[in-house]
Symmetry: C2
Subunit: 650 residues, 2 copies
Amino acid sequence: MLTPDNKQSTSFIRHAPEVEPKRGLGHLIFGRHLATADAPHQTISKKVGLAVFASDALSSSAYAIDEILIVLILAGTAALSVSLPIALTIIGLLILLTISYEQTIHTYPGGGGAYIVARDNLGETPALIAGASLLVDYILTVAVSISSGVAQITSAFPGLLEWRVVIALALVAFITIINLRGVKESGNIFAVPTYFFLGMTLLTIGVGFFQYFTGTLGVIEPGSVEVAHSGETLQALTLFLILRAFSGGCTALTGVEAISNGIMAFKEPRSRNAGITLIWMSTILGVNLLGLTYLAHQIGVLPSHLETGFSQIARVVYSPGSPLYLTLLGSTTLILIMAANTSYADFPRLAALVAGDAFMPRQLQYRGRRLAFSNGIMMLAGIASILIIIFRAQTNALIPLYAIGVYLSFTISQGGMAVRWFRSGRLKLGESFQKHGMPLHFDPKWKSKMFMNGLGAVATAIVMLVFSITKFKEGAWIVLLLIPALVTLFMLIHRHYRTMATGLSLERYGEPPPYMGRHRVIVPLSSIHQGTLAALRYARMLSDDVTAVHVSMDPTETEKVQKKWLTWGGGTRLVIVESPFRLFLEPLLAYIEGILSNRQPNETITIVVPQFIPSKKVFNALHMQTADMLRKELLSKPGVVITDVPYQIP
Amino acid sequence: MLTPDNKQSTSFIRHAPEVEPKRGLGHLIFGRHLATADAPHQTISKKVGLAVFASDALSSSAYAIDEILIVLILAGTAALSVSLPIALTIIGLLILLTISYEQTIHTYPGGGGAYIVARDNLGETPALIAGASLLVDYILTVAVSISSGVAQITSAFPGLLEWRVVIALALVAFITIINLRGVKESGNIFAVPTYFFLGMTLLTIGVGFFQYFTGTLGVIEPGSVEVAHSGETLQALTLFLILRAFSGGCTALTGVEAISNGIMAFKEPRSRNAGITLIWMSTILGVNLLGLTYLAHQIGVLPSHLETGFSQIARVVYSPGSPLYLTLLGSTTLILIMAANTSYADFPRLAALVAGDAFMPRQLQYRGRRLAFSNGIMMLAGIASILIIIFRAQTNALIPLYAIGVYLSFTISQGGMAVRWFRSGRLKLGESFQKHGMPLHFDPKWKSKMFMNGLGAVATAIVMLVFSITKFKEGAWIVLLLIPALVTLFMLIHRHYRTMATGLSLERYGEPPPYMGRHRVIVPLSSIHQGTLAALRYARMLSDDVTAVHVSMDPTETEKVQKKWLTWGGGTRLVIVESPFRLFLEPLLAYIEGILSNRQPNETITIVVPQFIPSKKVFNALHMQTADMLRKELLSKPGVVITDVPYQIP
């Protein structure tokens, strides 16, 4: 036996095995890995960065326009023209947000998502609210983007309309499989659909405006579209209705925050490159939004559950069913799928961050098989699929749940930045302050920066409130209940970890306790063969004090065991436990508990269980999982250790 | 370390802990245990035996009469009078079966179920067919009896009709809970409903016949019953229709075999007592069947999905809603529930028998928590519940699946007995023969006995064929596919066990191999606290060659581990495995596999995994099940043993 003074050399050997996230099929499809935070040597240029981070934001225009129109139509076709001032207001908001996030990007070059900024500047609870909001939103991004993508397909091919839900679920399954295979943002492949979509929308806007100025732009014939009617009667164009339309349109800005999360992925100078990319992205988004809304207005696009606004614009600008028409809708579908795909990277990444602070299960921090990221991905896919089924893949029905989370996180993030500038202003030149997180320095421009971020916070807070009120009955209430519930859950989880850390702490642990003294080993055996003998040999290696236990349910079998024991038992003590009722576990437990209750102080008891490992997993159903059963019953007893000794057919 | 010559004393200690099947609630309700085969000292009298084994058979008359009428009505109300000759034919079959089973009971005093008789006299495949048939039938007994029981309730209280499925499922759940608590046949409590039902039916028949002979017997007014119409148009009274009605009525004889399975439960002389009880039971069943069919005919009972025949008889003989009317229906419901309950004893008992021959998972042999009988009971309840839901608790819809299994097992059992008598006849006086199972002696009456069992086999085979053909389309095909599928499954399971036994046999194993030599222990640690130190102490007790492994995903955490190690590591070697991708399992596996590939011959590697055991199970979701994950990955590697060392907050 080893004694405390028989010490081995203290040496911290460093071992770096060559292990990377699994690639598989995803590798074949998406090319080489381009890990962002994990592998800083692989950084991306602004052009690739735009492609990687813009899909979520740019794709939003595919449904935002419809969302504005579908509300305005409630006040009659004439009200549809209000879509233009609404779009302009949204673009104003976009400019404000862009300036706001510019500041965040330069302050947090390591990545400044809402959770980090809030944790740094506002404290735990706001950070958790931001985290919960974003997690809810990533799920909805998948559901909304995929539903909208399918709507583009069914606009072109109305025959597929009844397969809508099935197609959406198949797309979710496809993205999930790709992501489970361990693909992360792979810039080059992202570049293709983003620039393809960008080219197609700009071409469409260009051709459309050319036709407009040359007077050749067609219009939608009123009979050709089945106008969406929500069952509400014709209303006056009230402020409430306009605000309701506005909040639908605000979904266009979801995804604007993406770059601020992923600054680490850019080439140095990171903040500068990321900032420039943000401005590019916002400009393109603004041009798209304004151009398409204007065209939609001129063409007379009508909101419909059967045909998207994009499809209507395309069939007027080009011609129905023409190659360019199909290409625009195809590129739109593709970028919407890409947008859903970004949630698959964002959701587990944020979950890992929150888990790192012990507010979510800690294993979410780790990547790899059976772990964390896979679980996160499965959770994301599962909930998104359920939403798609419940809301029958109707983008319009999902929107009321969407965007609250995004705008809430915008508000918290911008508010956190404003508080940061305020604190910065109270420092003196050259002074610096670090509570935790990013150190704070005096910034001479703190007043103007505080104003911009503060304005951003107030504006997004107003949008969030408008959204919550105008969409409350349609489903926003679900999210308004869900977010506080999640925050409470995070806090309960945190309390558990804290209790555990305190309880197990070595702080007041005093002297290292002595090594355990006696070691008693028990080997349950149902029959004697090569496998169980291996377990017996193992047990005898552990200790001199080995007891084999046979639960006797069948006298013939017991006789066989006893006979074989004389040859093969190697002199080990064999106890036969009688079980007249053919019970197996109970007599064994009773025997073990008898030993436990009589044990000496400082005695450890190990139960060595032979466990057959079949060649095919399905055969597991044919074998008793004795070790598992004992583990469930005995693991809570201190000083009992359960060991499986596996055996196979040689 | 222990060497082979350091032998311990060989002593087979017998240990008989006081463990009985759990009782709990069931004990409160059903009184003391009355284990049959398990506790032979607790035997039952003929009167109690009748109560225990007759509920299945006697309760069948509650639906068999309706089953005859519901087919005959297809040829119009006049055809209903054919029910009398059909009932007489069924009673003829009952007499034949009784004589046949009498012979079985005297030949197999230890219990002569179809599976045992077939295995003994016909071989493996017929035995498996009998086993599969009976298992299928036990499930259907639950579904049919409960559905019929609910039909009695809804006949008296039509308002409950729409709750039919819910009531049926609640009853199944109730019986399941009682049985999971470990109740087996408890004679005294069985006696109450059986004799209650017996008293009530005989009273009803008596009063009915008294009214009949005094001319005061009423009739069903044609408008008072909503006659069942199956959607089939009015047909001629063809032979096919009569046979179809006959096969429905043959369900009355299901349960006749019950006593032959449970002979061991009777007081000595067992076979004699069991035989006499069988004759009593058959006589009562015959009287009930004939009396009730005759009364039903006189009263003009009409088949209906809303009111059972029993209810119609009762409301004419007594008066609708009267106490005696309600008492008859109540007693019928009760005995039907009791009949369902017998399957809960029969199904796991037969499964254990088949499992003992290694045709079903072997753990089905064992009783107790998480095991076998519980699994068998859950399976039975689950499938029966699904059937009840699918067939909307309509007895009439379930019948086509029922009875095939029973009659198939009748045929196999009687055929087996006939073969046995034939073999007996070929022996000489005093000569005896034992292949396996029950030894065979010359029997001077072998010819007449062979004739009776042979006749029984032929008659039941004909019923089975008639049943299969006439009810094929209505659902019999399901069972005709299911039974061969089950038999195939049994055979595949058997092959697996045989391969395993051969592979692990000690026959040609030669010398006992030497004890394993070197023992290397690896302890994965993510942080250093009281719990992980306990695992380290345990590891150092196992071997001098201990390596602690820390997967470094977070430099701060790793630094903490290294610092604490200097104080608490006790000089053990610590290896830091780098994981830049925040992978956890993969680097650890790579490290372990590196050690495995370089290991010396005869070296055993044990991985000691600290495992936190939370106070509440729900917290398990917050902790990595590292041991489980490693077990899944490594258990198939020879010479690797995985040990959990549990720790809790002290």
